[in-house]
Symmetry: C2
Subunit: 910 residues, 2 copies
């Protein structure tokens, strides 16, 4: 007969740790610990097959399984010297689900099963604690009623709270055994009323009902949704674990505790944890008694302490990772309730990984796989002192848009930020930032916006600059006019004004009022360096570049290990204060001649920028993108102009002066010039700027813009090369949708390159390639690659166009989407592999089909997100490019992809 | 030895009409006519192979080819009794290129080759017309200089014009033989100066040079671009045709003429054409002499007339199509210079096709293939009387946005249109139309806008309504405030005011001032009905539906043969004057309860609309799309509100009253209500509305909107069904990007359907499907089709997102793109098969893979464009849907696709 029930405990087990298919994750873990002779409370696991049989038989467990269960139960009773339902020495058990893949929250646990009106008295006697025994019974009825009988938790709570009120109890623990008995009586009435039957007093019946409830939960709505979201097959089924209850609160020789085999905050190799004598786990949570440090256990129960250290040390050796364990001492006997790999901070993760390699416990490959790339952030940015954080008021929670802590005084305009920043640290607070705010963003310690998502202007720019940023904190209302921000917290309105202290945690999205302490990170720590060295070795030829627009960012990028610049956005340079007038003159020009005149003024400035970048990136490639944003972004906003024009006839001198300053038009000429300016702005106005006249489309309308940018690139390259710097320029044409567009622009670039290089007698090598950021470019990649020497996936825009979803506008209904569970992740943070990824995969294949040495990379925000980096590795890209501060994260993610056995290395021939 | 040179003429030819590969199209045609014993001026063709050899040998014709050319020339001289360069009776020839595929404009023709200072005298003698001879020589030098020697035409023109000025000649024909001689002398000087050599006097040298120039032109820039644009291989080469010159101006026994074998305007079977005695073709163009009707030739030269009728009649039989021919009579001898299938009007095309089937000249399949579907437009709309058109001033030319002629008085607002339209016909003139203008558009005879493209609001709505529209007429400035439109025509400013007459041709984009006569079309003409019947037979199961929002449009659609509604946009209904207040109330509602209250008012109205549509479409499916546009489209414009708010403090009573009317807010409450309204509008403001909160995204945020629409649909269906009408509703969820979105909305629809149908005891069948209009939906079609019962490709939006190109914003740089030849066609008019089409093809396959009876259609603008319809047929769609007036076009296009041998019929299983 097939085996359906697997016993464990007492130093043996029918199953083992590899049998997750049959026993589920929890059951396999319990079997493994038992086999390792650990003192696990004995029990048995009903296999996942039974779950499927249960459904096949119309919600019935087959008789042969029942037989096996009875046998296992009898054996358990023998082991424990207790019997289920026996009034003298009753066996109490827990009942838990456990599928092959962890499905947290799918079903609650049922504890203390086996209690009834009789056995509760036995427990009273055994524990000498009537209150404890009645509370166990009370909890059991509540859990059973809720999970098995589907009675709402709320109904139980009402009874409980009513009793507390009646006896004026402040805490649950103020209730006496008699109070609890009264509650139990009412609970039983509730159960009878709601389920139509009395609460089952027969423990065997309790067990069968609990088991069946666990099976049914497999096909509950929550579980089905969870499986679909996580792509877990529906036919796996869940196992049921039935395990003897143990109690740490049976007197001074009992205890309960938790611990780690190493310090989870620092990674230090030190036994770490705490315990309470005569207590249950929940007493720690209630916070009534202060637990003792685990080292004190040695004094109170030396043999138990010794045994615990031995066991946990063996567990760490066995699982080859830091263990997070729970234990209970019942009557001087140690029981291990759980052990699992311990969660840890970023610094701890790196330290443990490196230490364990040195201890020869794990290989370097394993070490590299052990650290979650996202956690590296904690090693690269200052963090808020966790203690200081507790003393401040949490104002709001926005999106963790750019990691790190920032503390400073509030300012509401970029101009004010510049003024104040020379004296004190400032936090720039805006409803949303615009390109005009750059100068203020640069000097701020941190940025807070009330609108916008993970890829809003504020978020993208802040990440690029490595400045902490919390974006889209919707609870905050920002009034630039009044110079104040208002937050409704708990019905109370809190107003912060210019100069008030504010603390941000860009890694969590938290916003605090007041001045927190920060702790600096140490990115060059020796352990981290060792760790990254290993990671880079495994990463192989797969490159990591940085998105950087100015030399300062390029320098940071190099420090973090970037191997080139994957995206330099030239428009960033045009927004600088000394350039925007020339840029505006260029845009307002009515013919090519005056346009060229304005461009000529920009040429030397751009050349100097590029020269700076080339110098920083000596020996590494620099991808420079030609002008991308629509021209109206460089002009005043249309609606502001319209309003000012409407106000002008009645404007007083002060208002006129303001307008004059705003538009750079003398006050006396406003009446004439403002309408003309508005007319041009109207001309450039677009319904959907994202899909409008931008990218290569500008270069096709105004070839002279592309020409002047190419000239600046190659003149800078020649100039810097002469000083012995190795320059590798890659000119990137944005927003290509068809090869015809690319050819048009490439021709201009090549012509200028030949002219400039020819004149200088230089044989500098360069490439001309394109950004793949609209679906059509990906769909026709075979054609585009015939002309383009490299592809760089601009996944921000590619995500927007492929999903037909504006990242800025998405924030308005993002919460509705999250509530309805439409997307698995925020597609602007984590690459949508199912949709956008499919397009990328197609394009890489088609592009390499047309040009086998095509260089392929990614320069969207996703280039620094671990799962996206791994995707890029898998589809055979040559490199990823991300903001400088995410470079180490990308390096690690790529290394992990490499180790995880992707065999795509041969595809990267460029 | 391989044959490189093919003679023709004199009733025989070395080649024939099938040898286009070797002889090019022109050469093959000349050979075919010669073989048919037609009097073609003899000559010979140098094959396309020689062109390739020429390039292989470094721009040299191989000696063996030279030998064959000499032989062919000697034979030609023998046939003609003339010799190239002989002073007594010189042979003159034309030299023309001719590739396998017609490449118009690739190279100019060289005429009169063989003339030099001596032979021109022989021509003088022979023709008795010194002026004619000198003019031939003058033209020859000019053509040769330009085409062969690369001298700019402008240089020749300067000399010519200077002479005209000197002798005060008004027309070219005022120049005497002596004048021309003087010009020739100067031309020769010019040639010597520019080319460094004297003008070649040796006709054999002339011939070799002309031949080589033709070969070189194959690799000219123009030709290469043309080939790439038209996907013609580069290795085909061009042939060179050398043909004896004949002259129709050698006296009263010579003549020249053109004609058609049937009337190209009406299709009537009647010999049709005109001729001039003693003239050359260009004399007709010069317009100095009025040609005679071809029937007169019978009186002047009876044998020639008889021969011409015989020949052309045979030609029609031979080519089995209307022939457009050119002939010359030299000294009483008829020469056929050209014959080709004649271009014809739409009515003529249909009539000829039907007649020729009845004459058993062609099959029904051929007849259906003979008519360009676009031409059907001419049979479905009134046209401007071509004679009357000539008497009016052409004001401007815009885009032919919606076909047909319209004549009426100008109005500048929708409200005024409604007022005036009851008294007289009106033309609504707007800078651009907005949904608010619908009531005015409905009553106008025609619509004219100065902004916007083929898919602008005006264009789309006008086509839907079948109202003529000219869009984007950029030369016109429209001032709604001043109630006038201004046009700059030839430096002169013309102003039209309200009430002035205006005539539009929506089929050509022409705008005339004044009141033109129109000629009504007869869509139910018997010939057309017969023709369409044949087309429908070949079309088979492939359906044609119409996009129609209201019963009136549905009625029109049925009349034009629509087999259902492929797209009903429910928002159209919400814009109606009696509904928009409820719609606005719904949007301004702060909670679900008040939103439902407003929706409840809309429910009966929507139900009535749907009932009307179902009635019209008895027995045919009706696809109803749930609400699609972003909500702010229903509210006043943000910038207008901002300006009005700025004006409010200084506004006088009149202005306040205006504002009050505009926003439906009592004047006294403007101060309080306007800011509140603006605040909500600001909340709804989007950066990229096209990619924003619209489509299914609205339904996910506000499920009650979807619910109420579903309720209206199914209640209407039940109501109409009870009256015996067969209702087939297909509910379409717009803007799906992931199956999760679709499931969310489908659940709501199905729930309402079950409730409503259940209550009515109805077992009505319905489908729930989706619009595929963003790339991600297409990319994940396999998943979406698991839930969706039908797909309808919304190619307007799919084109926008796939190309990352906003159709409204594209118009701003469309001219630059056309100049740079980036796109082959306007992608919003003709489906981009290379990019968007690829995505569609993938999606159809993936969708059918998941659900083999998936119904697939298209409802974008492309559904009425012939090449796009044929694409839809090829990829295996079940139907296309287009505006009612384009239904016959789509029917014909589909029939043509079917006949063209697509074997996809089996794929359409639904």
């Amino acid at each position: 007969m097939k085996k359906y029930v697997y016993s464990f405990g007492g130093g043996t087990a029918d199953g083992d740790g590899k049998m997750k298919d049959v026993l589920g994750g929890k059951g396999a873990g319990l079997a493994e610990m038992s086999r390792a002779k650990l003192p696990v409370p004995p029990g048995f696991t009903i296999s996942t097959d039974v779950c499927n049989l249960y459904f096949e038989r119309g919600n019935q467990v087959p008789p042969e399984v029942d037989g096996q269960i009875n046998e296992a139960l009898a054996s358990l009773e023998g082991k424990m010297g207790q019997k289920l339902g026996e009034n003298g020495n009753p066996l109490l058990v827990s009942v838990r689900s456990g599928a092959k893949f962890s499905m947290p929250g799918m079903m609650d646990t049922i504890l203390n099963l086996g209690l009834n009106d009789q056995t509760v008295q036995a427990l009273e006697r055994k524990s000498g604690n009537p209150r404890f025994a009645q509370d166990c019974y009370r909890r059991f009825i509540q859990m059973f009623g809720n999970v098995v009988l589907d009675i709402e938790k709320h109904d139980f709570d009402q009874i409980f709270e009513a009793r507390k009120k009646k006896v004026s109890a402040k805490f649950d623990t103020d209730l006496t055994a008699e109070d609890l008995k009264a509650i139990i009586a009412e609970y039983k009435k509730l159960v009878e009323k709601k389920s139509g039957k009395a609460f089952p007093q027969d423990p065997r019946q309790q067990l069968a009902m609990a088991r069946d409830a666990v099976f049914r939960s497999w096909n509950g709505k929550r579980a089905i949704t969870y499986r679909r979201m996580n792509q877990i097959p529906d036919n796996l089924g869940t196992a049921v674990n039935i395990q003897t209850m143990v109690f740490g609160n049976l007197g001074e020789t009992s205890a309960t505790g938790v611990g780690f085999t190493r310090n989870p905050s620092t990674g230090e190799k030190a036994f770490y944890g705490e315990f309470l004598i005569n207590a249950q786990g929940e007493d720690v949570v209630a916070g009534i008694r202060t637990p003792q440090d685990i080292s004190q256990l040695d004094k109170v129960m030396p043999p138990v302490y010794k045994q615990l250290r031995e066991i946990t040390s063996n567990l760490e050796q066995h699982y080859r990772d830091v263990q997070d364990f729970e234990f209970t001492v019942q009557d001087g006997k140690l029981y291990m309730l759980q052990t699992r790999n311990g969660k840890r901070t970023g610094p701890a993760a790196v330290r443990v990984a490196v230490d364990m390699v040195n201890e020869k416990l794990i290989s370097k490959e394993e070490a590299v796989l052990r650290v979650d790339p996202q956690q590296l952030d904690q090693l690269l940015h200052p963090v808020l002192d966790p203690v200081a954080k507790k003393t401040l008021a949490l104002l709001a929670k926005g999106l963790p848009a750019s990691p790190g802590a920032a503390v400073g005084r509030v300012v509401f305009t970029a101009d004010e930020a510049v003024v104040q920043a020379v004296k004190q640290p400032v936090i720039l607070v805006r409803a949303e930032t615009v390109p005009d705010d750059i100068h203020g963003m640069e000097v701020a310690k941190g940025i807070l916006t009330s609108r916008g998502g993970m890829t809003s202007h504020a978020a993208v720019v802040a990440r690029g600059m490595g400045i902490p940023c919390v974006a889209g904190a919707g609870e905050i209302e920002v009034s630039e006019r009044k110079k104040e921000m208002t937050v409704n917290t708990g019905g109370k309105k809190l107003v912060l004004r210019e100069g008030d202290w504010l603390s941000l945690d860009g890694s969590t999205g938290e916003v605090f009022s007041g001045q927190a302490r920060t702790i600096d990170a140490d990115p060059s720590s020796g352990v981290l360096a060792t760790f990254m060295e290993w990671a880079d070795k495994f990463r192989g030829s797969f490159g990591v570049r940085a998105n950087a627009d100015i030399p300062r960012d390029a320098k940071v990028a190099r420090r973090f290990g970037a191997e080139g610049i994957g995206l330099c956005r030239t428009e960033h340079m045009f927004f600088a204060e000394d350039r925007i007038p020339h840029m505006q003159a260029m845009i307002l020009a009515r013919d090519e001649k005056s346009r060229r005149k304005a461009l000529a003024k920009l040429l030397p400035m751009q050349r100097a920028d590029f020269a700076g970048l080339f110098k920083e990136m000596d020996g590494f490639p620099v991808v420079i993108r030609t002008l991308d944003p629509p021209l109206h972004e460089f002009l005043p906003k249309r609606e502001n102009l319209m309003v000012d024009l409407a106000r002008l006839p009645h404007a007083d001198a002060k208002t006129k002066k303001e307008m004059s300053g705003r538009y750079g038009i003398p006050a006396g000429q406003l009446k004439k010039e403002l309408p003309a300016l508005l007319a041009r702005v109207e001309e450039l106005h677009e319904f959907n700027p994202m899909l409008g006249h931008r990218g290569c489309r500008l270069g096709i309308t105004y070839p002279e813009i592309t020409e002047i940018q190419a000239r600046a690139i190659f003149e800078a390259a020649v100039q810097v090369s002469k000083k012995g710097v190795k320059v590798i320029p890659e000119v990137m044409i944005p927003l290509i949708g068809s090869v015809e567009e690319f050819e048009h622009q490439k021709k201009i670039v090549v012509q200028v390159a030949q002219e400039v290089l020819g004149k200088a007698g230089s044989n500098l090598k360069y490439m001309v390639g394109t950004m793949i950021e609209i679906p059509r470019a990906a769909l026709t990649a075979n054609l585009v690659a015939k002309e383009a020497e490299f592809f760089s996936f601009g996944t921000n825009d590619l995500t927007q166009t492929t999903m037909g979803l504006s990242r800025d506008d998405y924030t308005k209904f993002q919460k509705d989407y999250e509530k309805a569970k439409i997307f698995k992740n925020d597609p602007f943070a984590v690459l949508d592999q199912e949709g956008v990824g499919k397009l990328i995969d197609m394009a890489v294949k088609a592009g390499r089909g047309a040009r086998n040495d095509l260089e392929v990379g990614i320069c969207g925000e996703h280039g620094g997100e671990p799962s996206s980096v791994q995707f890029c590795y898998r589809v055979g890209m040559n490199y990823v490019s991300c903001s400088p501060y995410r470079v180490p994260i990308a390096r690690l993610a790529a290394a992990q992809a490499a180790i995880s056995g992707d065999k795509t290395e041969t595809m990267r021939t460029a």
